[in-house]
Amino acid sequence: MTTKPVTAPLVDVRDLKIGIARGGGDPLVVVDRANFQLHAGEMLGLIGESGSGKTMVCRALIGTLARRGAKVLDGAIRLGALDLVAADEAIWRQVRGRRLGYVPQSALAGLNPVMTIGDQLAEAIAQRPTPNRTNAAAVARELLEIVAIHRPETVLQQYPGQLSGGMRQRIMIACAIAPGPDVIVADEPTTGLDVTVQAGIMQLLRDIRARLGTAIILVSHDLALVDAYCDHVVVMHAGACVESASVSRIASPRHPYTAALNRSRIELAVPGSDLITIAGAPPAVGAWPPGCRFAERCEIVQSDCRRGDHPGLRGLNGHATACLHPDLMVAAE
């Protein structure tokens, strides 16, 4: 177990298990043993490759599982004192946007093409618990200033089609922070943007955290990005959280999957040589082997790794791993 924090976590995900309904039989389990806590003002990176279940966890957090035929089978998600797994649509209406902001992946399509930026921001501002309608224009300008958009007066009159991808993502972030949420879930917010713009968006998220104290969950497949901007990293593999640690500690990983991810970072590649990749492929959803799901690809696999359930997170001093033999790893490095 991780050490008990002094303050209660803002978001608490415990043993979350998510399944997709199949015609007839049992649901297809896509996530189990997702565990992490987000504290007020923290920036948490949730990383994993395609199929690791990070997007499903993200959907569970924002309450859009049902529309994809998926549902939470077990476990708990708490936002403060609120149980989000049991929440009905009436509760979700109070939570979505207002307490839990969301920055989608598709910045290019996330804004209504026939409404001005000003109108869309005004709509988001009206979601505040105590909307101040007379002052909405000033608040909109202030929001644009926070997301570092120049010439706010002009931009407020413009339509999304007249703005660049980076600017549109900044507007999406402005819309997400407008109601004053405690938490923002950003699902790969820099996908489809070029690298310099990416850096700007990430810097912006960090500024927002510093300025407004908003906690942020960054969902990404990019370890370098998470390393550079987050406080805490949670690594997901094959539907389970395999390692959870602060950014400083994750540099010396205690799970071979994280170590492999670290080694395969593109900026570490030696020019002229092949890129380092992780051998093999993650097990297919629904065909998870018993025991550790990374065992097939693991360099330090032991006989007991392939038995029983997937191991849960264990660890000390805020560095938790699902690996049964993290000490062997240190020896191998």
Partner: protein
């Protein structure tokens, strides 16, 4: 109204040719609307009064000549402006509104039976040529401009409904609709402010080009004596009345025909300009 709304969506950086087209079209249409207002007011003749020797060629006194009953063609042509354009406006806007609503409802309806029934009805209506359908229905309601509006309201919605449904199916899946849900906006607001405007932009664009077709239909039906009844001044009806005299009194047919062309050309300048700017925009 619509033109203003669409113009705003493309704002300043549109295609120059498109902007010129819109201005020329708007100027032509504006001139016609102004003339339609002023000519009947200022003219010393009443459009339906027999004031002169019949079949006089154009002169300074009777700019467009006189018809077979000795009415001033000039006054009649311009007193028909608001009648023709007004009927066309209703003939476009009523199906536009109902068709868009039907298309949107179809796209969100969960009742398979209802969807199957209404789409078959739409297909059936769209399968028949509008003019043939219109003539058949007018035989039922009796000739008149009101009948034309009723007939258009009964039939033309199907075209809008098909466009709206196709568009709505697409808009429904757009990320901005999902984003609006995740912002916690209530369903009615998402429907009215995010969904509908993105669907209606498509049907309004069709409506603008449909305007020309509808004007032609109104005049066409009136020419076939199924629309405006004498002595009502209406371009199609006037051309129809001029037909027996076309060899001796060409002005009876030509001037209402020119007015019809003027209206059609000004509208197509506007629609073409708008679509050019849409395409040329960012």
């Amino acid at each position: 109204m619509t033109a203003v709304a669409l113009e705003a969506t493309t704002a300043s950086d549109g295609n120059t040719a498109g902007r010129v087209g819109i201005r020329v079209g708007a100027a032509m249409l504006g001139a016609m609307l102004l003339a339609g207002l002023l000519v009947p007011l200022l003219s010393e003749y009443h459009p339906n009064e027999l004031i002169a020797v019949p079949l006089q060629p154009p002169s300074l006194q009777f700019l467009f000549g006189t018809d077979q009953l000795g009415r001033d063609v000039f006054t009649r042509v311009f007193s028909a402006v608001y009648r023709d354009l007004g009927v066309a406006f209703l003939g476009v806007s009523i199906p536009l509104v109902t068709g868009t609503a039907v298309g949107v409802l179809l796209s969100v309806s969960t009742s398979r039976v209802l969807v199957a029934f209404v789409t078959s009805l739409i297909d059936a209506i769209n399968a028949l040529p509008l003019l043939v359908l219109a003539i058949a229905l007018i035989a039922l309601f009796g000739p008149g401009l009101q009948s034309i509006i009723i007939v258009l309201a009964m039939t033309n919605w199907a075209r809008y409904a098909r466009i709206a449904r196709t568009r709505a199916m697409l808009v429904k899946q757009q990320a901005y609709i999902e984003a609006a849900r995740l912002q916690g906006y209530p369903a009615w607001r998402i429907l009215l402010r995010h969904f509908l405007p993105n669907v209606s932009s498509e049907t309004i664009a069709y409506g603008l080009s449909d305007f020309i077709l509808v004007i032609m239909l109104i005049s066409g039906l009136s020419y076939l004596t199924l629309g405006a009844a004498p002595p009502t001044a209406e371009w199609g009806a006037m051309m129809s009345e001029g037909r027996p005299f076309v060899q001796d009194a060409w002005w009876m047919t030509i001037f209402p025909g020119l007015a019809l062309c003027w209206a059609g050309i000004s509208l197509s300048f506007i629609t073409e300009g708008l679509s050019r700017r849409e395409r040329g925009g960012p």
